[in-house]
Amino acid sequence: MMIIQIVLILFFVFALFKTVLRFKVREISLSQFIFWIIFWICAGIVVYRPNLTATLAKFLGVGRGVDAILYLAIAGLFFIIFRIWVRLDKMEKNITRLVRQDALDNKNK
């Protein structure tokens, strides 16, 4: 096993542990919990046995398994960034609404 595999697997175990903790204090919902548990376990399996991705790569028409995973991961990341952007924008607008309402209510402050 290469060192990078050990490091990544340790990281996934850590993330798994964190996910369980978050779920315990109900910071994340059951569906989120399940999603992340499956996600980290899959990530661990892929790192442990990279050759498993070869089938996927072949199916997608990409040369190597690692490449297929990378492409998918980048696409996924962009999607997540997009969602965070949109949410942040919504949050900003809500903050403005609160600040505005406060300003209008307290004109003599």
Binding site: F82, W85, V86, D89, T96, R100, A103, L104, K107
Partner: protein, 215 residues
């Protein structure tokens, strides 16, 4: 009048307005960390405060909301940093009523009073005009001019959701979309050192883009 950290200038600007007998001056202090609110009050303006800084667009909308609530018939947007000339208001108020317009937009290009720095005049502003005309679909000679007069109907219909500087593009867009009667008229803009450079322009484009994709 939106104001953010303008303690050095705001008093003079407000006194200028009072000298031209505009007494209903509302300052929206956009979470300034200096004495802007106090200076504005001392100069005789009514002041409401954003607890935290939300940007010029947000402050303008707060001002509009306040004005609508308090029975304004015409609302003048006027910068708090002394760039505008209070003399230009009278002519504008006349024009908007005489021509039965909803919105009157100030332009520094319609007469020769404004001494626009060379780089700004021949480089930054033409580019921003081109981009804006493209985005908003409204042909304006001066797209980023904070001097505006709105009648009550326009103030009620135009809701500024761009908290930052992109409201300067959002407003023309809404004028077009809502089919408001508008016109431009000449105002004087005097230049002090600060203003938005090219970076500011990119920030506006980014804000507009985020807004576009989050709808």
């Amino acid at each position: 009048m939106p104001a953010f950290n303008e303690e050095g200038k705001i008093g003079r600007v407000i006194r200028g307005l009072f000298e031209h007998s505009y007494k209903n001056v509302l300052v929206v202090d956009d979470g300034s960390s200096d004495q802007t609110a106090m200076q504005a009050r001392e100069a005789g303006a009514l002041v409401i405060r954003h607890l935290i800084n939300r940007g010029q667009g947000a402050a303008l909308q707060t001002g509009n909301d306040w004005a609508i609530k308090n029975g304004a018939e015409l609302i003048v947007h006027f910068d708090g940093d002394g760039q505008f000339n209070p003399k230009d208001i009278a002519h504008g108020l006349e024009k908007i009523q005489a021509e039965n317009l909803d919105v009157l937009l100030g332009s520094r290009f319609l007469d020769t009073r404004s001494k626009i720095p060379f780089f700004k005049k021949y480089f930054i502003l033409p580019i921003s005009r081109f981009v804006n005309n493209l985005i908003t679909g409204l042909k304006l000679t001066d797209v980023h001019n904070g001097f505006r007069i709105l009648n009550l109907a326009a103030a009620k219909e135009i809701r500024i959701t761009q908290d930052g500087m992109a409201h300067n593009s959002e407003i023309p867009k809404l004028i077009k979309k809502l089919n408001l009667r508008y016109s431009e008229y000449p105002v004087e803009v005097s230049y002090n050192e600060h203003g938005q450079g090219i970076g500011g322009g990119f920030k506006i484009l980014r804000d507009l883009f985020i807004d576009y994709i989050s709808k």
